[in-house]
C-alpha cells in the first residue's frame, strides 16, 4: 500500500492497458484453441495485429457491424469457442446493447465483451465516441459480470480469469495511460481491494480513477485526513461486505469513475449503502456531454483528478 501511494506521487511511468490485454490474449490463445477474437474492423484499435498474424482463422472481423459481431460471438460460443469481442466501447455497448442482453447474457454464453478505449479515452473525438454510459447499461443486465481493471497487471489478470470463467462478461480495457497501482497476481472477481488505509473517509474508485484516488489520499494525508482507497475492479457483482465495512468504519464515501454520474459506480454504491448502512456520499463522474478536449483535459474539467477527489472528501469530512 505504501509503495503504491509513494509511486503515485512521483512521476511514475504510465501504460496503455490495451497492450497488456493483447499480449495476454495471445498467450492464452496459444494454450487454448477455443479462444477466438471477434471484432468490427477494430484490429488496429484493439491491438490485434499480432493476433491476426498468428491466428488468422481465429480473428473474425465481421466489418463495421456491431450487432452482427455480438450475435456471431454468441453463435461461436454455442459452437464451443470462447470469443473475446474486441471493439470500441461506445459502439460495442451502444449499438449492440440488445445483442449483449439477449444473445450473450440471457443465453448465458461464455462471451467476453471487451470495451476498448472506454470512458473519455477518445477525448477530442467527442461524446459520440465517449463511452460513459457503459457502466449503467451493462450493470442493468442480469447475469452479466462487469469488470474494470485499473492498470496493466490487473488487465492481464482479469483477461486470464475471464477466459476460464465460462460466463457472460463485459470488461473495460483502458486506452488512457495509467500508472501501475496493483501487483501481479490472480484476479479475484469477488473482492474489492483496499489500496490505502484510512478511517475518516473512503474513496471508492474504478479504472482510471484509482491512481488519482491514491494521489488524493496523499494530498489529504498532508492535511491530517485519513482517506481509505478502494479499487473496484468488479463493478458487478459488487463486494458488498467491503463497502459496508468502509461505510461503517469511515462514515463517508466518495465515489470516482470515468463514467456517467447516473447509474454507474456511484449509483451502485448508493443503491447498496442506502439499504444497508446509509452514510453521506459524493458521486464524482461525468454529468453531461463533454466539451472538446483531450482525455487529460476532460478529466480535469470534470474534477476527476486528485484535487477534485480530495475536495469532495474534505467537504464530507467538514
Amino acid at each position: 500500500m505504501t509503495t503504491a501511494v509513494a509511486s503515485a506521487v512521483q512521476p511514475a511511468p504510465v501504460f496503455d492497458c490495451r497492450q497488456a490485454f493483447a499480449e495476454t490474449l495471445m498467450e492464452l490463445a496459444a494454450q487454448d484453441p477455443r479462444i477466438v477474437a471477434v471484432c468490427n474492423d477494430s484490429v488496429g484499435s484493439s491491438n490485434l495485429g499480432a493476433f491476426a498474424k498468428a491466428y488468422p482463422d481465429r480473428l473474425i472481423n465481421v466489418g463495421i457491424a456491431e450487432q452482427c459481431m455480438v450475435g456471431t460471438a454468441a453463435g461461436l460460443a454455442n459452437g464451443g469457442f470462447v470469443p473475446f469481442v474486441c471493439a470500441a466501447s461506445p459502439f460495442l455497448t451502444g449499438r449492440a446493447l440488445e445483442q449483449i442482453k439477449a444473445d450473450v447474457a440471457y443465453n448465458d454464453y461464455p462471451v467476453v465483451l471487451c470495451g476498448m478505449s472506454p470512458g473519455m479515452a477518445y477525448g477530442e473525438l467527442g461524446p459520440t465516441h465517449h463511452s460513459i454510459e457503459d457502466f449503467a447499461w451493462t450493470r442493468a443486465i442480469a447475469d452479466l459480470t462487469v469488470l474494470v481493471p485499473a492498470d496493466p497487471a490487473q488487465t492481464r489478470a482479469a483477461v486470464c480469469w475471464a477466459a476460464a470463467a465460462r460466463r457472460p462478461i463485459f470488461m473495460r480495457v483502458g486506452r488512457f495511460k495509467v500508472p501501475a497501482v496493483t501487483e501481479d497476481g490472480p484476479f479475484d472477481p469477488d473482492r474489492i481491494a483496499e489500496l490505502a488505509a484510512g478511517s475518516d473517509v473512503t474513496v471508492v474508485a474504478a479504472g482510471t480513477m484509482v491512481s488519482r484516488a491514491l494521489e488524493a489520499h496523499s494530498l489529504l494525508a498532508a492535511e491530517g485526513i485519513a482517506a481509505r482507497v478502494l479499487n473496484v475492479s468488479t463493478l458487478k457483482p459488487l463486494d458488498a461486505e467491503m463497502l459496508v465495512r468502509a461505510a461503517r468504519e469511515t462514515g463517508r464515501i466518495v465515489t470516482a469513475e470515468e463514467a456517467s454520474v447516473h447509474g454507474g459506480l456511484g449509483g451502485a454504491v448508493a443503491e447498496l449503502l442506502s439499504q444497508s448502512h446509509p452514510v453521506p456520499m459524493r458521486i464524482l463522474g461525468v454529468p453531461e456531454f463533454a466539451p472538446t478536449g483531450d482525455t487529460a483535459f476532460l478529466l480535469d474539467h470534470f474534477g476527476l483528478n486528485a484535487a477534485g477527489i480530495a475536495a469532495a472528501a474534505r467537504e464530507l469530512v467538514g
Partner: protein
C-alpha cells in the same frame, strides 16, 4: 489437440448410438401427418394459454417438421451433443410450433405443453435454452437469429466439424438491419453449411409486408449479397426435404419458403388479424376438426 479434434473425439464417442435413425418413419407422407399433429398441438396450447402467435406458428409448422423429423442430426437424449446440427428460430414468437416439434421429437415430455405460458413454466412466450432442452438460442427481439447462426457456422468450420446450421427468419423481420449486416457477412465468408429459411407468409403484425416496408425483390437481394437462393412452396413436404437436404455450393443457402399465415385452418389462412388473435371455443373446435381430416 485443437478444438476441432477435441470436438470430433466427442462426436465419435457419442454419435453412433445417438443417431440411430430407425426410430420413426421419415417419409414425406408420414411427416405430413406429424405436421398435422403439430398444428393441432399449437391450437390446443394457445387455447389453453389464452395467448400465442397462431398465424406464424401455422405458417412455419411444415418447415420445422421437415427439419426436425427429416434433416437435422440431433439427439433428444443428448441435446448438447457437440457435433449436432444447429437450428435457430429467429422469429422466436412462433415458439408454440417449436415447442410442439421439440416435444414430439422427444426433447421433453409432451405433457409439458399444457403448461405453455403458465406462471413459472419453462415454456415462456419466447424460447429459453436455459430452461428447454433442444433450444439453441434465446430469440425474441427480431433480427438476432442470423448473426448467431453465422457464429455457429464459423465455429463448425474452425473446429473442422461437420455440423450444419439452419435458421428460420420471419419475412417481416427482414426489415431489421442486423439481418443485412449478417447476410453480407455470410456471403463474404461463403458459409456453405449455413441455410437461412425465410418463412415468406407476406404478413407482418399489422399489415402485408409489401405495404409496410417492401421486401421484394427478395431473392435478388440475397443473391446480390452472395447467397445461393432457392424458392419453394413452404407447405410442400417433399420439396422442403429436397431443398434442405443439400448445402449451398460454396455460398450460404437461402430458402425462400412461400407460406400462408394460419395455414391449415381455413378461416385463419392469410388473414392479418390471426397474427396473435386467440380463437374462441367454437373456433378451436372448428380448427381442430379441419386439422383432423
Amino acid at each position: 489437440m485443437n478444438a476441432g479434434e477435441s470436438s470430433k473425439a466427442a462426436t465419435q464417442a457419442r454419435a453412433p448410438a445417438a443417431l440411430a435413425e430407425a426410430d420413426f418413419d421419415r417419409s414425406p407422407a408420414s411427416l405430413g401427418e406429424v405436421a398435422k399433429q403439430i398444428r393441432r398441438s399449437v391450437i390446443t396450447m394457445i387455447d389453453k394459454a389464452g395467448m400465442g402467435h397462431v398465424g406464424g406458428d401455422l405458417s412455419v409448422t411444415d418447415i420445422l417438421t421437415a427439419l426436425y423429423f427429416g434433416i437435422l442430426r440431433v439427439d433428444p437424449a443428448v441435446p448438447d451433443w457437440p457435433d449436432r446440427d444447429r437450428f435457430i428460430l429467429s422469429k422466436g414468437h412462433c415458439v408454440g410450433a417449436l415447442y410442439s416439434v421439440l416435444a414430439k421429437r422427444g426433447f421433453f415430455d409432451e405433457a409439458l405443453l399444457a403448461d405453455f405460458l403458465a406462471p413459472l413454466s419453462p415454456l415462456n412466450g419466447h424460447p429459453n435454452r436455459r430452461k428447454v432442452p433442444g433450444v439453441e438460442a434465446n430469440t425474441g427481439p427480431l433480427g438476432h437469429g442470423l448473426p448467431i447462426a453465422i457464429g455457429s457456422a464459423i465455429a463448425a468450420r474452425l473446429s473442422g466439424c461437420n455440423w450444419r446450421t439452419f435458421v428460420v427468419l420471419g419475412d417481416g423481420e427482414l426489415q431489421e438491419g442486423s439481418n443485412w449486416e449478417a447476410a453480407m457477412c455470410a456471403g463474404h465468408r461463403g458459409l456453405e453449411r449455413l441455410t437461412a429459411i425465410v418463412d415468406r407468409n407476406r404478413l407482418q403484425q399489422g399489415a402485408r409486408t409489401e405495404e409496410t416496408n417492401r421486401l421484394e425483390p427478395l431473392a435478388d437481394k440475397f443473391t446480390a449479397f452472395g447467397w445461393d437462393v432457392l424458392e419453394v412452396d413452404g407447405h410442400d413436404m417433399p420439396a422442403l426435404l429436397d431443398v434442405f437436404g443439400a448445402s449451398g455450393d460454396g455460398r450460404p443457402r437461402c430458402v425462400i419458403a412461400h407460406t400462408s399465415k394460419g395455414r391449415g385452418v381455413s378461416f385463419m389462412e392469410d388473414r392479418v388479424e390471426w397474427h396473435h388473435k386467440v380463437p374462441n371455443a367454437d373456433q378451436v373446435a372448428a380448427a381442430l376438426k379441419e386439422l383432423t381430416v
